[in-house]
Symmetry: C2
Subunit: 395 residues, 2 copies
Amino acid sequence: MQFADRLNNVETSAIRELFKLLGKPGIISFAGGFPDPAMFDIEGIKEASSKALNEEPGGALQYGATEGYGPLREQLSSFMAGKGVTVQPEGLIVTTGSQQALDLLGKTLINPGDKVIVEGPTFLATIQCFRLYGAQVISAPIDAHGVKTDELEWLIAEHKPKFVYLIPTFGNPSGALLTLERRRQVLEMAVRHQTLVVEDDPYGDLYFGEAPPPSLLSLSDSVPGSRELLAHCGSLSKVLSPGLRIGWMIAPPALLANAVMCKQFSDAHTSTFAQATASQYLKAGRMPATLAHVRKVYGQRAAAMGNALKRELGAAVAFEQPQGGLFFWASLTGEGGKTRDAGEFAKKAIEQLVAFVPGAPFYAANPDLATFRLSFATADVGKIEEGIARLGRAV
Amino acid sequence: MQFADRLNNVETSAIRELFKLLGKPGIISFAGGFPDPAMFDIEGIKEASSKALNEEPGGALQYGATEGYGPLREQLSSFMAGKGVTVQPEGLIVTTGSQQALDLLGKTLINPGDKVIVEGPTFLATIQCFRLYGAQVISAPIDAHGVKTDELEWLIAEHKPKFVYLIPTFGNPSGALLTLERRRQVLEMAVRHQTLVVEDDPYGDLYFGEAPPPSLLSLSDSVPGSRELLAHCGSLSKVLSPGLRIGWMIAPPALLANAVMCKQFSDAHTSTFAQATASQYLKAGRMPATLAHVRKVYGQRAAAMGNALKRELGAAVAFEQPQGGLFFWASLTGEGGKTRDAGEFAKKAIEQLVAFVPGAPFYAANPDLATFRLSFATADVGKIEEGIARLGRAV
């Protein structure tokens, strides 16, 4: 069987090999990018699902509009309003998780050979998703405050990319938070260079202290012309449940219309059963309490991990304390002649029954081999302290 | 904004324009390809969903394997066994409706310019889906017994297609049932020409009298070498609920592995919430009763529509009485100087408050403009008789 050439553009083995080792008994894993299932509001989802089947069985079980289930689009419009974004229900489409929004952006926009700029490092499924459409993926460097906007602008001017993809708020894997000033700069350079910017925002609601700066989308109202150059991807996966596979995309009308056309042939529509359930959940008003709970628990875990890292690994690793999201992004300093190779370190860690993901696969190019990602979401404080102690022994 | 060139390959306006008219009050619609929501086993789905959330909340709400939720793959393996197909749970993957299986076949296999052979007419979203990947779609003619295998073989020999896509059992829109002899011939020519065959089978369970011949997949055991050249797409959409978006694909291991890799970047996985619900539904053993009920009701409606067509339109239309599925495929004969243009006829029908879909968009090439499709699934017998009487006035 002769497969399509586009399959040659992707490489999925790096992380897959590591994940095979996660089945080892007794392992403490900081590897996944998953929320903690103990945070799932099962009662609330159960009620929402019953309500959906009782009150709107046709809507919940029949074919639906490709754009999304009407009542859910209304709820998501209100949800976004609570985050300072004005968007009509018709201005957003529902996607099968935000992964599908990325796929639809690729399908709608990317010709083989087109350039796309992403953060280096960024979400690795984004890199592979765009490469499947033949994109040449270019990395813009980041620091603790997100993408370096001066370097980003040079890259835009040089490469004239089809679009720029950013996770401005608690990035994956970086955990970084783009400053307000840089957010404005990104919008201004979008207008200056007439470049589309994609804001992926699955983590924006997971802040531990004060709220992060407004999203690019929210801020676009104050930068004339920028809203027409902005696509925004949201998701219920990290805050409610990934299993529902409910994401959404807000974008200029022409892009949205083409994405809907593509989605029609991708999966016809997102599960109306899941959409009606999510819609009832949001309507029931349970989201604020769920978010408050999740923020508190993840905040405690992030604090515990930061303290343990300092205590157990000291000068051997450098990192910024994340203010939200799911991840620590750390780097081996090589202090005292220790290894600076995070791949090596991951193998030694597995021997100590603790797992994490080395940073290299998160880079579209020029990986920093000393970096690695730790998720604090799924292990409780006790497990985190034990796991980081094991890391201390492994280093 | 500059969109990808692949968007120029598709055209979606033909049917969309017609569907806009369906909102007219008092209209009787034979246009959709939807099952009747009155057939949905809401109680059974409600029980299944509660069970999923009570017994396996983590599995139902967390991220899941791209290949599909383990317990559902087991249930689908048993479900297929009941239809004479031996497949291990690892030999099938779950897809977000069978539309996604088509998309994954396109993504995995089609290079721009590759040829794909489909029936003329066939499911129109298939044509568009493959064209989005740059396929040149070639039509193989059909008659009342499905694709004409002699002509299909000439086309395969001439065009050396990437694959052949067929709906052998109660085709959409044709309603045709491929004979057992032709099924064998298709498998033999797959082996002879080493050509992949895709069997799309959403309607095979919807038979009214005796069961149809075995699926190509079931039959492949008796044609050496054919199973390795066969991909089979199944779906719960027409028999249980489209809103769950649960389909599956059975294919040779290398194809399945690449489809999983592509799916990872399409939507990560199908809603585990929907998968766990479907799994519990199948496990509860309610499917046989549901199928028996659906077959009986649709059988009555098909009989009523056939009788009404003969009574009200007489020699003005030609059609075969379908033995299963959702559709009548009919053709204007032009008898008595009446129109042979189904597009014109559709407009006159709308004036009489009855809707159907003209046949032209179902052809990848050389449309037969006299053809049209009538669905008997969603209107009850009374509505069917009234609707066909209106058609009689419109012709």
